[in-house]
Point group: C2
């Protein structure tokens, strides 16, 4: 059965990016993509992707600066109320209710799982509809003190497994429900 | 040599308490005081304690409601600009600079270590003076979405060790410096 996972890097104090949407704190950390909780293995099981407009714009900005191409082969839904331009194949913009988009994503994933990329507000929207199954965090050894929140609603989780990958403490949680 | 450790429980999204200073989310979690990262072993090495006024008032309120007594045998410094009443022996109120109080604490600890109880603002004040050596977190499987921040300044850490204790993911970090 298709499951949705919010898989993200975060600081120890629960921020996905600093106040200027910078991930400068993230890219300096040692990390092995093929190690424990590695991105390669995770992405092999993913059939569709969801992200918010700010996350998408961050990726577009990053690709534009580095000259890299959009790397996801899976169809991606970007939740936005603004006019945005697709930077790669398979990108759909939507302002439809999350439940409706979820059903489309499950159909497109054809048995594979769904990746909730972020941000924390969109992840909480899916969780509020009972559609988020698990949270996987790669916790960077960093305090930012302020920034974009990891999650925006009160929810209970259950710790399933954890390990270290380079500088990161990684953990998988089952979503229990709203508290 | 005496070291100062900020040892605290936190939610996965980096809050020490909810917006109403409640720790209701904390006390429902399964935990073994004598297990990995347990409180008993930690407290055996502590010679003096520092906390902010809000943390102190939370403890006073908790003790008043439960009828329990102040349990710390170590001298405790409470940083406050307000008039507060001591609820136990060995409690000193101060509004002196953290470096000055740190020197008093080290002398009082007589070779043992210092516990920075919280909150995140006071811990960051000590870190800014280069006086905070390590951070130990017991991460509860909870998102609050809002509340009292774990830390209030940008700082780099280094992951030293980690383990599970009941519902908590526990980790010890060395403080590297401001970022």
């Amino acid at each position: 059965m298709t499951r949705m996972t919010f898989n993200t890097a975060t600081t120890l104090d629960g921020f996905l990016a600093d106040e200027h949407d910078s991930l400068e704190w993230l890219f300096v950390q040692e990390h092995d993509d093929s190690g424990p909780f590695g991105f390669e293995e995770f992405m092999a099981g993913i059939g569709a992707i969801a992200m918010g407009a700010t996350t998408y714009e961050w990726i577009v900005d990053h690709l534009t600066r580095t000259g890299e191409a959009w790397s996801y082969t899976q169809p991606a839904w970007v939740f936005t109320h603004r006019e945005l331009t697709p930077i790669g194949d398979g990108i759909r913009f939507t302002s439809a209710p999350v439940k409706e988009v979820y059903d489309e994503m499950v159909a497109a994933a054809a048995g594979k799982d769904l990746w909730m990329v972020g941000g924390g507000g969109l992840a909480a929207d899916f969780a509020a509809e009972g559609l988020l199954d698990e949270v996987v965090v790669s916790i960077a050894p960093v305090f930012l003190g302020a920034g974009r929140p990891l999650f925006t609603a009160p929810f209970d989780l259950r710790l399933k497994e954890f390990d270290r990958n380079g500088a990161f403490l990684c953990a998988r949680y089952e979503v229990v429900g709203p508290r």
